[in-house]
């Protein structure tokens, strides 16, 4: 098993980077997992590279029957995913230039549903409500899959790891995409990065605690705990097994506490006594054991490990997932009309949610479909499980589907290969992707050159001309745009340096600051005054003669008189100092 990334250079100044999983056991096969289009502007300078679009290749867009069925309230089955995409490439899963729109889309949709559709007759509002609920869940599942794949890439191999995966911009993107709160699109960059870091820490803690909870419960019930790891070594799921010999030994004698495990007692299950299914042989300190699989749990789940597959009871995880859907849909479709019942019912469900949530009862929990989708990915890249076992798990996992839009886990490799071929075809031969990239670059250039008022005017004209007119910057502006991208890279870095606390040489690598200041010095005549102010701050805080001299030369390059406007607005935000007792304004501590 090997994860590797491949880069295809595209003729319009971009790289298509694909993370693939290479199966070496048996038949050699390469399964693409995720692809990213990096806008390189056609040069070799990584400083102006920008990731633009991300495709999660293991997911196919829902088919027409799927979309239609998703509109039906209380329809809890899936007709199966479109396993054979028609050769058209997927729209990107992440379009970094349009990240904030999804927030607006969701808010607009919520407003429209509440104020326009809800007052209409039942069948008029319930269909779009069901459709949007299913679609929202589908997106969450896709996001979870995407998050896992990107994490896989990030942790896979230092050599293959692109630089932008650690950039603050990417962390912001992740915070917006993979965070749970709807307000995340409106936060500052630093807040987003802090949120992302916190989110990752919580996720890690959740995985670890659920891992340990399941291990201890398995131990107490005399079962075998078998965590399943990603290639990065992170455990996201776990299998529980029972030894055939133990079933014989403890038959009808040993008590079984199903708390947190949520499966039937193996010590009273006739199926296990005469088990004919999959068995794994292991050697332990106690001797040889023949292990029968009992269940699979997802560990990235709030509070408790969530049951995804019960090898003895197909309906067990499904009914737990159903409990949540039925409650939610009950409120949405049946009780929304009656204010009295509605209030009482909501209060009742709130209390129920609180008690079940607090005690870790596995009913009415958040959806497990995201965790199930992650298991689908894990099955692709895990070489710890035998092929037979993988097939068995995929079959069982397929039965969990409650959302008509749900992905087919068995089809992951097939879909991924087809999607990747279509994407490559489109990237190399088609026009769609090229056009899209050029449009996004154009939009960046318009934003760079024109203010808000003008841009609004261009939009108005475009609207009035029914889309015929689209403002474009002349080709000559491209050089300025390329320069701007480089400048942004250095400006962002210098701002980060200026925002930090303490002597610069102490905190940062002076060579790195030197490089950015050199860029500023060489291009001072083309840079805005804000960059000059950064140089001024660095001059004030530098302590070595070399850095002071360079910052001073930068400053002189901006203003030969040597002084920037003293009374001018403070463009650069100074690092917030600590609010001391007596100050009324609460301020956050600086995070250098």
């Amino acid at each position: 098993m090997e994860l590797r990334s491949q880069t295809v250079s595209l003729p319009y100044g971009a790289d298509l980077v694909t993370l693939s999983y290479r199966v070496t056991a048996g038949q050699v096969k390469e399964i693409p997992l995720v692809a990213v289009l990096v806008d390189t502007l056609g040069d070799q300078d990584p400083e102006n590279d920008l990731p633009r679009y991300v495709w999660i290749l293991t997911t196919a867009p829902p088919s027409v029957p799927q979309r239609l069925l998703s509109l039906v309230p209380f329809f809890y089955f899936s007709p199966g995913t479109n396993d054979h995409p028609d050769g058209n490439a997927l729209p990107p899963f992440i379009d970094i230039a349009h990240l904030d729109r999804s927030q607006w889309k969701r808010i607009s949709w919520y407003a429209a549903q509440s104020f326009l559709l809800n007052p209409q007759p039942w069948f008029l509002w319930s269909l779009p409500a069901a459709g949007s609920a299913n679609w929202y869940e589908y997106e969450r599942v896709r996001a979870a899959t995407g998050e896992l794949l990107m994490a896989l890439w990030k942790n896979a191999n230092e050599v293959d790891k692109p630089l932008w995966l650690d950039s603050p911009e990417w962390r912001e993107t992740e915070a917006i995409l993979f965070g749970r709160s709807v307000v995340r699109g409106y936060l500052r960059s630093r807040q987003l990065q802090e949120l992302r870091n916190e989110q990752l820490r919580r996720q890690r803690s959740r995985l670890a605690r659920n891992w340990e909870l399941l291990r201890q419960r398995a131990e107490e019930e005399h079962l075998f705990f078998d965590p399943l790891a990603l290639p990065s070594g992170e455990f996201t799921h776990a299998l529980l097994w029972v030894a055939k010999e133990d079933v014989e030994r403890h038959w009808r004698v040993r008590p079984f506490n199903h708390r947190f495990l949520n499966i039937r007692s193996p010590w009273r299950d006739r199926h296990l006594k005469g088990w004919q299914g999959y068995v794994k042989e292991v050697e332990t300190e106690e001797g040889t054991h023949h292990l029968i699989p009992l269940a699979i749990y997802g560990l990235d789940f709030p509070k408790i490990p969530t049951l995804l597959v019960d090898f003895r009871d197909v309906f067990n995880p499904k009914k737990r997932e159903l409990s949540r859907r039925i409650k939610g849909d009950g409120i949405r479709y049946a009780l929304e009309r009656s204010p009295l019942w509605n209030g009482t019912y909501r209060m009742g469900t709130w209390i129920y949610d609180f008690f079940t949530g607090r005690t870790g009862v596995d009913y009415n929990q958040p959806s497990r479909l995201s965790t199930a989708a992650q298991l689908g990915v894990l099955l692709l890249v895990n070489d710890q499980l035998a092929p037979d076992m993988k097939v068995l798990i995929q079959e069982e996992l397929g039965r969990l589907k409650l959302n008509p839009l749900t992905l087919d886990f068995e089809g992951f490799p097939r879909v991924a290969i087809a999607q990747h071929a279509a994407l490559l075809k489109q990237a190399l031969q088609g026009e769609g992707l090229r056009q899209r990239l050029l449009q996004d670059r154009q939009r960046d250039q318009v934003r760079l050159k024109h203010g808000l008022g003008k841009r609004f005017l261009f939009q108005l004209v475009r609207f009035a001309s029914l889309g015929q007119y689209r403002h474009r910057e002349p080709e000559e502006f491209r050089a300025a745009y390329i320069f701007h991208r480089k400048w942004r890279h250095h400006q962002d870095f210098l701002r980060e340096v200026a925002d930090s606390e303490g002597p610069l040489e102490l905190v940062w690598d002076p060579q790195r600051i030197h490089r950015s200041l050199q860029f500023v010095l060489e291009n001072a005549d083309r840079l805005p005054e804000s960059t000059g102010r950064l140089a001024q701050v660095l001059l004030e805080r530098a302590q070595t003669p070399e850095l002071q001299s360079l910052a001073h030369r930068c400053l002189l390059a901006f203003r030969p008189s040597g002084e920037l406007r003293a009374s001018g607005p403070q463009i650069l935000p100074r690092p917030p100092s600590l609010g001391l007792p007596g100050q009324t304004e609460p301020v956050s501590l600086p995070r250098p």
């Binding site: 890690r204 803690s205 079962l223 332990t284 300190e285």
Partner: protein
């Protein structure tokens, strides 16, 4: 009986008034001008559970993208311009309450565990419970946290007590005297009131949590005091490292911890620079213990509470300070301030359905070790006989044989506690006299009033204990059989009786069968023999590494002498398996206590109290695994060196790089009998020493590497409590201004333990002081630890102290 305080409105007014007055006082009292007159200043950064290796491993780390240092300030302040101690160890157990007690008092720990149980009264002392402290303070029923009250009772002063109150700033921590209501008010403000709508959105999206707000508010006030006040002693306490590392062993958590720490160091250093007296300020970064955390494995839990509740574990109802799986429990919402919880056994023993009869008390703090109190096996037998006499348990034994056994057991108990009861009566008399004088006194301070109330409650509880045992000794079989007295009257719940000796623990009575035969359990074998199937990450299947207990020297001496050994003090017995055991012997040589490690096997004590064991040669697999440790630093042949007594310093040099660090010294410290404390009034000394003795556990259980005993939740990140390098190696780094005479960029390679902390600090401060009263008092303290004078420049270090 606690007095009712004034109305709620009155208390609120008083609280608001206190806040206003403290704010005004701090504004008026503090000024830079006042600070400029100070001869010196000491600023302590106390980070609970910060392992040295975490700092040292990351000190040169850079961000892969920006090349920004993770710890620029720590590197600059302590590594380049200060002194660091790479081999600074917690003395004794690596758990918070005793470890901070040593650091804050400079003496051997007067508080020996983070939770202490009183065998006589069943009282629980939960020293880490801040919630009850603040609740009691709000109700005006307490003025200091419990650990400080205990130190006051024992006459042990804090280091900060040397400074006048107006010259001291202590943040919220375990051993604190001042109130920090302002910080709590700021936490609330920080949590609920924000400057901009975006801040509200940030909070709604899951921004700063309560812990961060608490940390910030604390730090903000601390920095203000450094910069603007004339305080001479300032400390800042943070539990951030401990909390994060317990929870998460990932690289993200480690980076978060070291970056947060570094920012505190940086801001403190800058505040010192602005204070105007940076040239004579000492900045210290210190932690109480380390943390056994590794990114390649999760720490795995082994549930001792469940084990002791099982029929094979003795079917105990177990008392702990927190509920098992409290994060998954609703009961914690009903009793959020509870300091103890009874974990009821589901097994059907003789105490089934009688959860009030707790027979085991378990302190799991740190989680890498546990201390276990078991009800006296003798009392268990008495309890079973009484129940049989009253036919509550039906066996085939005749009433006459039961009556006879009751008399035998009463005689046995009389031999064990008879003298104690007489002494206790006398001690309670002294306590009553002290109470009378306190009641008559008119000008008592609030602290003295609370102390009086506590003394009263001790007196009542111990009087009840004395009467209960006396009653039990006087009970007549026929009265019991007739049902004239109930079993509950004769043996009330909560009384654990005298400590169990080795014989009792090897043949601990847990139940009786139909024939009237006792079912017994050897707890050494039982605990150390546990095996677990499901382990990962190279963690071995044996969760209990070894069990340790103290052996009374008078009982051990005949066997020791027969084996050609000797000891002056109680030996410590370490049990890993029947064939793998060791004794740590202590003997006095010209006033110096020296220790020796002796491998033994099959140690047993018979019912007469005679101890027997077999000496075995040094071999791999013995407790603490010294013999096979490649880092054992001894000269000459190991067997020869280990076969002799050695002083503390010799052991420190030999052990400090080994896997179990200073385990031998630590076990000796942790298992010693409580010392007589010189600061306590002679009339009460014996009573308080008795109380401390009652808090001594029967057994100390140490987890194997990678295991923990946490039950209230899960601590997969890491744990501490034992002697593994990562757990016991704490952090100590010192920086001083130009006039302090501290060396720059020096790593002290000599191993020290936490007893050396305060003497070193005093030695650094002495040359700066012009002979103040404060320094005279500090210099007069007979510090137990050795000062690390090599932190000073040569001319100061060589000057006579």
């Amino acid at each position: 009986m606690r007095r009712r305080s004034g109305g709620l409105l009155g208390r609120r007014c008083l609280f608001i008034g206190c806040v206003a007055v403290s704010l005004a006082a701090s504004a008026l009292a503090g000024s830079q001008g006042e600070a400029a007159r100070l001869p010196w200043r000491v600023v302590l950064l106390k980070f609970d559970g910060l392992p040295f290796h975490l700092v040292d491993d990351n000190i040169d780390r850079l961000d892969s993208r920006t090349a920004r240092r993770w710890m620029p300030w720590t590197r600059h302040v302590f590594y380049e311009n200060g002194v660091r101690f790479p081999h600074f160890f917690t003395r004794g157990l690596s758990i918070s309450a005793p470890a901070w007690c040593i650091l804050d008092t400079g003496r051997p720990p007067a508080i020996r565990f983070s939770v202490e149980f009183d065998r006589a009264t069943g009282a629980v002392e939960d020293y880490l419970n801040f919630a009850t402290f603040y609740w009691d303070m709000l109700r005006r029923q307490r003025i200091y946290p419990r650990p400080v009250e205990v130190l006051d009772e024992l006459g042990v002063p804090l280091f900060s007590d040397v400074f006048p109150a107006e010259r001291t700033y202590s943040s919220i921590q375990l051993f604190q005297r001042s109130l920090r209501w302002m910080v709590l008010a700021n936490v609330a403000r920080r949590q609920f009131f924000h400057a901009s709508p975006r801040e509200y959105l940030y909070q709604a999206a899951g921004g700063m949590g309560f812990k961060n707000a608490f940390f910030e508010a604390n730090e903000r006030e601390f920095l203000y005091e450094i910069e603007h006040s004339g305080k001479q002693y300032l400390d800042f306490f943070s539990a951030m490292a401990d909390k994060n590392l317990h929870n998460d062993n990932g690289p993200g958590a480690a980076r978060h911890v070291v970056e947060e720490l570094d920012q505190v160091v940086g801001r403190t250093f800058e505040a010192i620079q602005k204070s105007g007296i940076s040239d004579r300020t000492i900045l210290v970064l210190v932690s109480d213990h380390g943390m056994n955390t590794r990114s390649d494995r999760f720490s795995q839990g082994f549930n001792l509470v469940r084990l002791l509740g099982l029929p094979q574990g003795g079917a105990h109802h177990v008392l702990t300070k927190r509920r098992t799986l409290s994060n998954y429990s609703l009961k914690i919402l009903v009793r959020p301030l509870a300091t103890s919880v009874v974990n009821r056994s589901q097994a059907g023993g003789y105490l089934k359905d009688k959860p009030e009869y707790v027979t085991a008390m378990l302190d799991l703090d740190g989680n890498e070790r546990a201390s276990l109190h078991l009800r006296s096996s003798h009392l268990n037998r008495l309890h079973l006989v009484l129940l049989q006499l009253q036919k509550k348990i039906r066996t085939r034994r005749s009433p006459s044989s039961l009556a006879e056994e009751l008399r035998v057991l009463q005689n046995g108990l009389e031999a064990k506690v008879g003298r104690q009861l007489v002494e206790l009566e006398e001690e309670l008399g002294n306590l009553s006299e002290t109470l009378s004088s306190l009641k008559e006194a008119r000008d008592l301070t609030p602290a003295q009033k609370f102390q009086r109330d506590r003394f009263e409650s001790y007196r009542e509880a111990y009087e009840a204990y004395r009467q209960a045992l006396s009653g039990l000794l006087r009970a007549r079989p026929e009265e019991v059989a007739d049902g004239k007295v109930s079993v509950r009257q004769l043996l009330p719940p909560g009384i654990f009786g005298p400590s169990n000796g080795i014989h009792e623990l090897q043949e601990y009575v847990v139940d009786v069968d139909m024939e009237g035969r006792y079912r017994t359990l050897d707890y050494f074998q039982f605990l150390a023999g546990q095996r677990v199937r499901n382990t990962r990450g190279g963690v071995e299947s044996k969760p209990v590494d070894f069990v340790a207990t103290r052996v009374p020297v008078e009982q051990a001496l005949p066997a020791l002498q027969a084996a050609g050994l000797g000891a002056d003090e109680d030996p410590v017995w370490l049990y890993a398996s029947p064939e793998s055991q060791a004794l740590i012997l202590a003997q006095s040589f010209s006033g110096e206590t020296r220790l020796r490690y002796v491998p033994v096997a099959q140690l047993r004590q018979d019912s007469s109290g005679a101890i027997s064991f077999r000496r075995i040669p040094f071999q791999p697999g013995l407790p603490l695994r010294i013999w096979e440790d490649p880092d054992l630093g001894v000269t000459g042949r190991r067997e020869e060196w280990l076969g002799q007594f050695h002083g503390e310093e010799e052991w420190r040099w030999a052990l400090y790089r080994t896997r179990y660090s200073l385990g031998i010294l630590g076990l000796y410290e942790a298992c010693q009998r409580p010392r007589t404390l010189p600061g306590i009034s002679p009339a009460l000394a014996r009573f308080f020493r008795r109380r401390q003795l009652h808090m001594d556990p029967d057994l100390q259980i140490f987890a194997a590497d990678g295991w923990n005993f946490d039950v209230k939740d899960f601590n997969p990140g890491g744990n501490h409590g034992g002697f593994f390098q990562a757990s016991a190696r704490a952090t100590l780094m010192i920086w001083g201004g130009e006039r302090t005479g501290l060396r720059r960029g020096v790593s002290i390679e000599k191993p020290y333990d936490s007893l050396s902390f305060l003497p070193t600090l005093v030695d650094i401060l002495r040359p700066l002081d012009g002979g103040s009263e404060m320094m005279r008092r500090l210099s007069a303290v007979p510090w137990a630890g050795q000062s690390a004078r090599e932190v000073l420049q040569a001319e100061l270090a060589q000057a006579p102290p």
